[in-house]
Amino acid sequence: MAHRAGAPARGQHRRRIAVSAEAMMTPACRPCRRRMIQVLATAALALGAWGFAPQAGASDEAAFAAAYNAAAEARKAVRKAGFEWRDLRTLLRESKKLGEKGEYEKAVELANQVQRQAELGLMQAAEQESAWETAVLK
């Protein structure tokens, strides 16, 4: 293929991009312009994707705080009843750590797990209020 006059030799345009932005704007540097458009389009797409992606915002943080506080309260209640399950403390601590790191989704999941287990413990306490007597050796 014949080389057009004034056009950069094969491979030369890459160096030009690195060397001078002004050079890219010259009509003589069409491949460079194409490259420039590609780069800008990619950047625009990336920015768009970033914009639409779910971002950890104030609402997530508030949702985590609500879930965490509810879980902590539920744990306190089941502990007071004397029927706390084994892993609540560890799960709650883990939830707090994740929340501090901004990993709200996982943190909320753990907090909800704590709340559910605490509720089940309270149900167990209510049930055992009288059920224990049926087990007594007579």
């Binding site: 399950w85 084994r86 892993d87 007594v136 050796l137």
Partner: protein, 278 residues
């Protein structure tokens, strides 16, 4: 009219005390009858050996362990610690004047002054505090060793725990312990009784479950799994965690009351602590 009211009140009081006095004894009788009927070949006193009273193969293995028991070092260390005087010149012997003939058979007991159950381990720490010393940690170490020494001196004495009939607070503590024993807890929804009553003598995975009768007689124990001498409340905590329930603290009111009930159920069993266990 007034005399009739007083008589009625008096009768009610006597009846009430009678019921209260009868309850723990009725419980003990039913508890002990269950095990003696479930294991008719085991002599009553032999329940002091726990699991090894009901399984021949495991008993042989345990007898081998008892030939060179690892708790001997702890008894020696406990003896040394027991006789080490406090900074004020007093010692444990001032708190436990009858220690040589054995004191453990009377623990835990109801202390009306403190209005709570006092266990052997708590009594050791109360003695220290009374003489200006810092309390020791409850699960292991020096306190378990002193307790092991006192258990050793009490060997052969028969467990004789009393629930004073004239103090309703003592009966309430006993009832709380009993309730704890039979209440299902944790993610597995198990109670102490689920294993040691309902599943006694059966396999839970690879574990053969031992009887609750006589279970307290050999504490503190040298547990091979933990490679050290440990107190009863550490075993309670380990059991709780196995049920996926949160454990209570060592010497917490819950565990002391549980020990009160648990030990009362073994009244009449001779002490043989410290013991060796897996």
């Amino acid at each position: 009219m007034r005399a009739a009211l007083i008589a009625l009140l008096g009768a009610g009081l006597v009846l009430g005390l009678g019921v209260a006095r009868g309850a723990p004894e009725d419980d003990r009788k039913a508890f002990q009858d269950f095990y003696t009927e479930r294991f008719p070949d085991t002599p009553f006193e032999d329940f002091a050996n726990g699991l090894y009273s009901i399984d021949e193969n495991r008993r042989e293995e345990w007898e081998q362990m008892e030939e060179f028991p690892q708790y001997e070092f702890d008894i020696d260390a406990g003896e040394e610690l027991f006789h080490e005087p406090f900074a004020n010149g007093k010692g444990y012997a001032d708190c436990f004047p009858d220690y040589e003939s054995g004191v453990r058979q009377n623990y835990p007991h109801w202390d009306p002054g403190r209005a709570e159950v006092v266990t052997m381990e708590l009594a050791i720490n109360l003695c220290r505090e009374q003489h200006g010393e810092k309390p020791l940690k409850y699960y292991r170490g020096p306190l378990a060793q002193i307790s092991a020494y006192l258990a050793y001196l009490s060997r052969g004495n028969v467990i004789d725990v009393k629930v004073p009939a004239d103090d309703p607070r003592a009966l309430a503590a006993y009832e709380e312990g009993k309730r704890h024993y039979y209440s299902r807890r944790g993610q597995l929804n198990f109670s102490c009784a689920s294993c040691h009553v309902d599943a006694v003598g059966r396999l839970l995975r690879a574990e053969l479950v031992g009887p609750a009768l006589g279970q307290v007689s050999h504490f503190p124990v040298f547990r091979k799994t933990w490679r050290e001498i440990t107190t009863l409340h550490r075993s309670y905590a380990a059991c709780s965690r196995q049920l996926r329930a949160a454990s209570f603290g060592p010497q917490s009111r819950e565990y002391r009351n549980l020990e009160f009930f648990h030990t009362y159920m073994s009244n009449g069993i001779p002490l043989n602590g410290p013991g060796s266990r897996h």
